[in-house]
């Protein structure tokens, strides 16, 4: 069974005829050739690497079919930076050593993206917020520090500038 879909990823519209069973993560990686989104479990939503933003909400793209995303706006790790200027979240992960092998990084960034909207979370709240994405390298310390820094950076910005960093 096939169906036509049109999914806008990072502002670019991708049209394709896809099997109903095609997972959104595979549409992103195979059809759109955006391999920054990773897959690390058995397509069962347990590792969090494939987390993306769909219409403003963080979603594990292995738990969604491509056909369900028809007509949706999707943001992936490739869409965070504005040209050569990194998103404050990317900056913070870099400065706080929030990544090592980089495999969980797309999941961490896109999950944190949603939580950045909380202006003053406790460390505990950040740790709770990120628990759907597993990391085997960092021990999470740098990641938690990075999210704190990103929130502080964004909070210090004028509202209009801040809004630019939240395209979805």
């Amino acid at each position: 069974m096939k169906r036509d879909v049109a999914i806008t990823i990072n502002g670019e519209r991708h049209e394709a005829t896809v099997d109903h069973r095609l997972l959104l993560v595979d549409f992103i990686r195979e059809n759109a050739a955006l391999t920054g989104t990773h897959q690390g479990c058995g397509y069962e939503g347990r590792c969090g690497m494939c987390t993306i933003i769909v219409d403003g909400v963080a979603v594990k793209s292995c738990l969604m079919l491509a056909v369900q995303a028809d007509g949706c706006q999707v943001l992936t790790i490739e869409g965070l930076a504005r040209g050569d200027t990194l998103h404050p979240l990317q900056h913070a992960f870099w400065e706080k050593h929030g990544l090592q092998c980089g495999f969980c990084t797309p999941g961490m960034l896109m999950t944190a993206y949603e939580y950045l909207k909380d202006p003053d979370p406790s460390e505990e709240a950040i740790r709770e917020g990120l628990k759907g994405v597993l990391c085997r390298c960092t021990g999470y310390v740098g990641i938690v520090d990075a999210v704190k820094q990103a929130i502080a950076t964004l909070e210090a910005m004028p509202a209009a500038e801040r809004a630019k960093w939240f395209p979805l």
Partner: protein, 797 residues
């Protein structure tokens, strides 16, 4: 880029080494431009998937691929019979050569008539897309006749146990009896003896990226394999032997990005071989990306040890003897390079670890079973033994009424260099100083007051320590007899014509930040910046031959090779500069800084590094007479000692909740020795990540096998890796003692921190639960297990 974002060029005396530079690797990873094996595609590529055994032990009566071949997109199905032409996998090249008695299983990439664990390979399906592969795998019909299975160590050692390899006559794959000093006398003369049994089930370091391979074959080019591996050259050599091809007809490429290794990606696996064979047979590129279920059924499983340990000690707290009957369950042992035995062997060699115990009697028995083969994981073979020894020290203190810190000071290795009873050379370190620093960091005296106040309020706080002697690489003296592999670090420094540097080395990373650290080292030696250095590794066609990434070797061995390679090149550059400037040829008269070679006798005479490189590469006629063109140098570094070690102390404070068995880590303080922190940011990340893995292993993780060998933890819903919410903040402190055996004094930090955790945490938990008099001897320390210990004590009154 590095210099711009980090600033402070004058920091650390103007040197790059020692500065917490942000990593060069990160930018591509942060914008989604990493390149992992799963991201690659080749023209005409097809996908492989494996049919795997649902039985722990069974005869294969028949394999019927009819339905599978009818699935749209399926190209081929192959079974063990299709691999018969290649012969057995293990050879002298791929079996450890340890002292003691080793047996060797004979096996092929895919079994022909018998499977040996749940998840064992049965057939491979090739299809045009990965969805069709899954359909094809489901449609292969296999008829099995289940056979009796042996799963745990005790089962394997029963006199009437079914035999995993009948030709052996028993289930023992390796045995060694290590005796040093006079343990009998130590025990006979001891004031006290304690015996205890410690266990750890299977767990390990499963990285977030599973295994993946793409193989491509052409008659002229030979075999090219992109592989998630820590050791490209060793795998190429083994593949060449297996396929009877010369090494130069095989190219193994670990891409720029490998998503974590931790030892799990060090062995050669049967799937790697099968994917290569498929590509050669089909003459099309074949891609295999392991799914998580396959991953958890097959690899990342380590530990699985039992220690029946006894220590002898004097009234003043000096441990004089150690006896251990040590057992390890190696599973099917069909894992080339290690066959499950290398890990427990090294664990035995490091059993006394930080403690100077002169008399030893250790008997190691490694069994085979119908579990998956044991694979290396961070804390290589040591996790259970480290738990045991640090628990024993606390038990001795308890028996003597001695302070847990004082007993550690009395038994820790105190004079360096030192050779342990098992023969491990310890070059440098300072346990005493590190203990003091850890005690200050957690305010140990203050904590005891806090603990007693809390107890008066019905709260249960506890503190625990562990000491660690961690290897920083394994020298050739150890690695050659162990695996017949070189221990040297190797690096080639090569200039481009514009004065930039390519650095090729043999220590391919899986996220450790090697590019950044090596760039810092080379930049200092050549007077350039880390941004001027491009680092190459992982591809056998461009990286120099080396054993690969293992055992924390980078900071001590590979860094030293890069240092010497750059230093050697500097002499040539000084000669060129002298010639071009018309000054005497005295290499030591030139300083390299700020991208220039400066004649120190008259600093107005200077030349850019770029000009020197340009001359050497593009204008050899302008070189000093007789000098060869080009600007390139390779160094193979061997330390002038059998090994380098770092000395570390960790302290943990927990609060336990006896009614539920839950506990919370309130403080985790690590005092670690990296000799010289080449990049403190990266060192800290290695320590924190290693500890996180240790906590996850010690508290949560277990590959659970039922009595008939079903593994019930083959998803991340059951195999519980710690999340951010499960872990505490981890505090790190440096206490560095440079090694005298390499030029910068630096020591590796990848392997060590994990093994520090179970001892410190077990000790803290038992201390917290002191009023209940529980004894914690089994890992993982799940909440349920702790609750059961407390509950049993309460019932006993």
């Amino acid at each position: 880029m590095v210099s711009a974002v980090n600033g402070g060029g004058e920091m650390n005396g103007g040197k790059w080494v020692g500065r917490p530079l942000k990593r060069k690797e990160d930018r591509r990873l942060l914008v989604g431009e990493g390149q992992y094996v799963a991201d690659l595609k080749l023209p005409r590529m097809v996908y492989a998937g494996f049919v795997r055994s649902p039985h722990a032990h069974a005869k294969i009566l028949g394999i019927d691929a009819t339905r599978a071949l009818a699935v749209p997109g399926v190209v081929a199905v192959m079974t063990g019979r299709d691999f018969a032409e290649y012969g057995p996998i293990l050879s002298d090249l791929s079996v450890p050569k340890l002292p003691g008695e080793t047996k060797r299983p004979i096996f092929s990439a895919l079994p022909v008539d018998e499977v040996g664990y749940v998840g064992d390979l049965v057939a491979v399906v090739i299809a045009k897309d990965k969805y069709a592969v899954e359909d094809g795998v489901d449609a292969v019909d296999v008829e099995y006749e289940p056979l009796p299975a042996v799963i745990e160590i005790a089962d394997a050692l029963k006199p009437d146990a079914p035999l995993v390899y009948p030709e052996w006559g028993d289930n023992v794959v390796y045995h060694q009896h290590l005796v040093a000093g006079d343990a009998d006398a130590a025990f006979a003369n001891a004031d006290h003896v304690i015996e205890e049994r410690f266990t750890c089930p299977r767990n390990g370091a499963s990285p977030m990226e599973t295994r993946a391979a793409i193989a491509s074959y052409g008659a002229a080019e030979g075999l090219t394999v992109w592989l998630t591996t820590q050791r490209s050259h060793i795998k190429r050599h083994l593949l060449a032997e297996y396929f009877k091809l010369p090494d130069n007809q095989i190219r193994v490429i670990a891409p720029m990005d490998v998503g974590g290794g931790f030892g799990v990606k060090a062995p050669l696996y049967r799937e790697d071989i099968a994917v290569c064979a498929m590509a050669m047979k089909l003459r099309r590129p074949v891609k295999w990306v392991e799914n998580r279920q396959e991953n958890l059924l097959n690899i990342g499983q380590e530990r699985d040890q039992i220690h029946e340990m006894a220590i002898a000690f004097t009234q003043d707290g000096r441990i004089t003897g150690l006896r251990d009957r040590m057992y390890a369950n190696c599973g099917d042992a069909r894992v080339p390079i290690y066959i499950g035995i290398a890990m427990p062997w090294l664990g035995m060699m490091y059993l006394t670890n930080a403690y100077d115990i002169p008399n030893l009697d250790v008997d190691l028995t490694c069994v085979v079973s119908h579990k998956a083969g044991l694979t290396p994981s961070r804390a290589f073979g040591s996790f259970t033994g480290r738990f045991a020894i640090d628990r024993m020290v606390d038990l001795a203190a308890k028996q003597l009424g001695m302070d847990i810190v004082e007993i550690r000071r009395r038994n820790a290795i105190s004079k360096f260099p030192h050779v342990t009873a098992a023969g491990v050379y310890c070059d440098s370190g300072d346990f005493d100083g590190a203990i003091t620093k850890a005690c200050e960091a957690i305010d140990y005296p203050g904590f005891r007051k806090l603990q007693s106040d809390a107890r008066a309020e019905g709260r249960y706080l506890g503190v625990g320590f562990s000491l660690g002697l961690e290897f920083s690489g394994l020298s050739s003296q150890i690695l050659v007899p162990m695996e017949r592999q070189p221990g040297f670090g190797v690096a080639t420094v090569r200039f481009d014509a514009n004065g930039n540097v390519q650095l090729a080395h043999g220590d391919q990373p899986q996220g450790q930040g090697h590019d950044t650290v090596l760039s810092q080292v080379v930049a200092d030696e050549l007077g350039i910046t880390p941004d001027d250095v491009r680092v190459i590794s992982g591809d056998t066609q461009s990286a120099p031959f080396a054993a690969g990434t293992l055992a924390s070797r980078m900071a001590s061995y590979t860094v030293s090779a890069a240092y010497y390679a750059a230093q050697g090149l500097r002499k040539k550059m000084a000669s060129i500069a002298a010639h071009l400037l018309g000054v005497p040829d005295e290499p030591e008269a030139f300083a390299f800084a700020g991208g220039e070679a400066v004649w120190t006798r008259d600093p107005t005479k200077r030349l850019t590094v770029a000009r020197i490189a340009e001359t050497a590469l593009l204008a050899p006629t302008e070189l000093p007479p007789g000098m060869e063109g080009g600007l390139e140098n390779t160094s193979h570094f061997e330390a002038d000692a059998p090994g380098m070690q770092s000395t570390n102390v960790h302290a943990v404070i927990v609060e336990a909740f006896p009614d539920t068995g839950r506990y919370k880590i309130l403080r985790y303080v690590a005092v670690d020795d990296s000799g010289l922190a080449l990049n403190p940011l990266i060192v800290r990340g290695q320590v924190q990540g290693g500890i996180a893995l240790g906590i996850s292993n010690a508290c949560f993780e277990q590959f659970h096998y039922t009595a008939d060998g079903q593994q019930t933890t083959a998803s991340l819903a059951e195999y519980l890796m710690a999340s951010s919410a499960d872990l505490p903040h981890i505090e790190t402190h440096e206490h560095n003692v440079p090694t005298p055996h390499n030029p910068l004094g630096s020591k590796g930090k990848g392997e060590g921190p994990t093994g520090m955790v179970p001892g410190a945490l077990g000790n803290a938990l038992e201390d917290a639960l002191g009023p209940f008099d529980v004894r914690i001897t089994e890992l993982p320390m799940t909440y349920e297990r702790i609750w059961r210990l407390v509950d049993a004590r309460r019932r006993a009154g």
